[in-house]
Symmetry: C2
Amino acid sequence: VKISELGEFGLIQRLQQWLGEWGVAQRPGLAIGSGDDAAVWQASEGLQVITTDALVEGVHFTLERSTWPELGWKALAINLSDLAAMGAEPDLALVSLGLPPATEVAAVEALYQGMAELARHHGVAIAGGNLTRSPVVHIHLTATGHLPAGEVPLTRERARPGEAIAVTGSLGGAAGWLRLAPVEPEAAACLRLAHFRPQPRLAEGRLLARVGVAAAIDISDGLVSDLAKLCRASGVAARLEADRLPVHPQLAAALPEAARELALYGGEDYELLFTAPRERIAQVAAQAAIPITIIGEVVAGPPGQVALVEASGAEAPASPQGWDHFSPR
Amino acid sequence: VKISELGEFGLIQRLQQWLGEWGVAQRPGLAIGSGDDAAVWQASEGLQVITTDALVEGVHFTLERSTWPELGWKALAINLSDLAAMGAEPDLALVSLGLPPATEVAAVEALYQGMAELARHHGVAIAGGNLTRSPVVHIHLTATGHLPAGEVPLTRERARPGEAIAVTGSLGGAAGWLRLAPVEPEAAACLRLAHFRPQPRLAEGRLLARVGVAAAIDISDGLVSDLAKLCRASGVAARLEADRLPVHPQLAAALPEAARELALYGGEDYELLFTAPRERIAQVAAQAAIPITIIGEVVAGPPGQVALVEASGAEAPASPQGWDHFSPR
C-alpha cells in the first residue's frame, strides 16, 4: 500500500497508533502529544535545550544503500547527539517529514520503528510532527532536552590553553563505511553500524556536565573540522597527537592506509570531543562505560588552528576540511 | 554570489550576523542562541508548547510565483499560527533549511529578512537551525512558546454541543489568490497578502485562553476540513450557516461565484476557529482587534460530521475535502 492510497490523515492515524503501541507517544511531563496543533509539556526546573538536524535523500543517504529503520534511527541519533554535546537529558522529538506519494506505508512504519527504538532506549517521546509531499525524502527532526537544575551546559566557548583534548569511543568508522561499501561490500558490513546506527553519547554528555567539564562539541563534520570550530569559538588553537587517535578497529583492519585520514576528516562519528584538565578527564574515563582517549592539547594560538603532531615530533597544520554542504565537490 | 561560493560555514556566519543586526538573535531567557550544538533557554513557569511545519518547493510554493521574503514570513507564520491555536505566547524558532547550491546568498538573506520581520513583531528569537544541500528548497521550522502559569491550553478535544462556532478574520483569500493569479494577475494582487503574509492570530489565541475558551484549531487545510478535525477530536458534529461565512471581501469582489467554495474548502487562511458559549464569544468579540464571526453551532451527532445550512433552511453534508498531501490530484 502506498501512502497516496492511505492519504495524509489515514497515515497520521496509523503513525499515532504505532507510536502508542511502541511506547514512545507519551512520557512524564508531556501534557499533549501528537494530534493537536502543537505539543504541550511541563518543563522541568533546569535550563531547556533544543536542536534541529535533517537527513536528505541524495545528500545524506540513498534508498538503495540504506534501510528505512536505519534512516529513522540515524535521524533521531544526530539530534540526540547535539543534546549530548550540551550535557542535556533528552525529552521530546518532533518529526517533520517530506515523502514522495509513491512511498510505501510499510516504509514509513519502518522509518518510525527505527526512530522509536532509539527514542525508547533514551526515554524520548515523539510528541508530534508534520507530513508533506516532496519529490525527495527529507527527514527533519527537532529534539528538546534539559539540564538538571543548577547545572551549566557544555559549550564550544570554554576550551582553555593547557587543557587536554579527549574523545569518546572511536573515529572514522562511519566514513569508512562510505568508502568501503561500493568496493568491498562484505568487508564494509562490519562498519555499517558505525554509519547508520551511531550511538548518541547522552550518558557521557551527562557525565561531562556533572564532573564540571566546560567545553564540548559532537563530531558530525569530522574530528579536525569540529575541533577547529570548538577552538575558534574559544579563541584557542590545538595540537593533535596523530598516533593517539582511537581509530575504529574494523576500519583500521579493512582500510589500514586510509584509516588515519578518515578518523581525522571523515565525519559522522557522532562521538563527543571535549577539553578539560587531565585529572578531570581521568575522572571521566574512570566513570564512563566506553573508552575515553586523550588525543591532544589546547594551546594558545590563532583561534581555530589545529596542528597535527607525529610520533617523531614533526608538526604540521591539519587541513581543516570537513563536510561543507554547499561546496562544489 | 551563490551559496556554493560562500560555503556552508561562511553562510552560517552571515546568517548569525544578520539575525543579530535585525534584533532577532536574542530575547530574554535565551541563554545560548545560534552557534553552538543546540540552543539553551530558561523556560518560564507555565506549560511549554512546541510545533513544527514546513514549506516545500513545488508543493507549497514555486520560486516563480513567490518572493523569498514572502516565503520566510509564511514559513514562520504557519508555525506561529499553531502556537496561537493553543493560546500560547511564542518564544523561539529554529530553522532547518534545504537549499540547492546554486541559490543566491541574497535570496537566503531575503528569506531570513521576511522571517525576521515577523519574528521581531512577535518578540520571537531565531535561536538556531540547520543548513543542508537539497535538490529542492524546503523550509522546516520549529517554534516554541508557553502559556502563562496556571493557564490551560486550547485543544481540539473540548467542543461541546450547544456551543457556537466562531472564526477570526476572513476566509478564502489565500486560496483565492491561488485560483486568480494564473488567470487575472492584476485582480489577484490584492489577495497576495492573504496568501503570502498570513497573520498568525497570536493576540486572539491569548485572548481565547484568557477568557476561558476551551476548543480551537487554526485553519490550514480549509474551514470544513479543520472543523471536521476539531469535531472528530471532540466527539461532536457541527452545523455551519453558509450565509454567515466572513468571505474575504476582495475575494468576494474578484470571484463572486467561487468565493463561498473557497471560503469553505480553500485552506491556508491561518485564522482561528473556535467554539464556546455565545456569551463568551461576545466577550471575545468585544476585546478583539479583528472581526470575530459566529458561523454555526456544535451539535450532538456523528463525530466529525459537518452540515451546511442554507439561508432557506435547507441542510446538506459539507464535503470535508481539504488539502491531503498524498492524495492523487
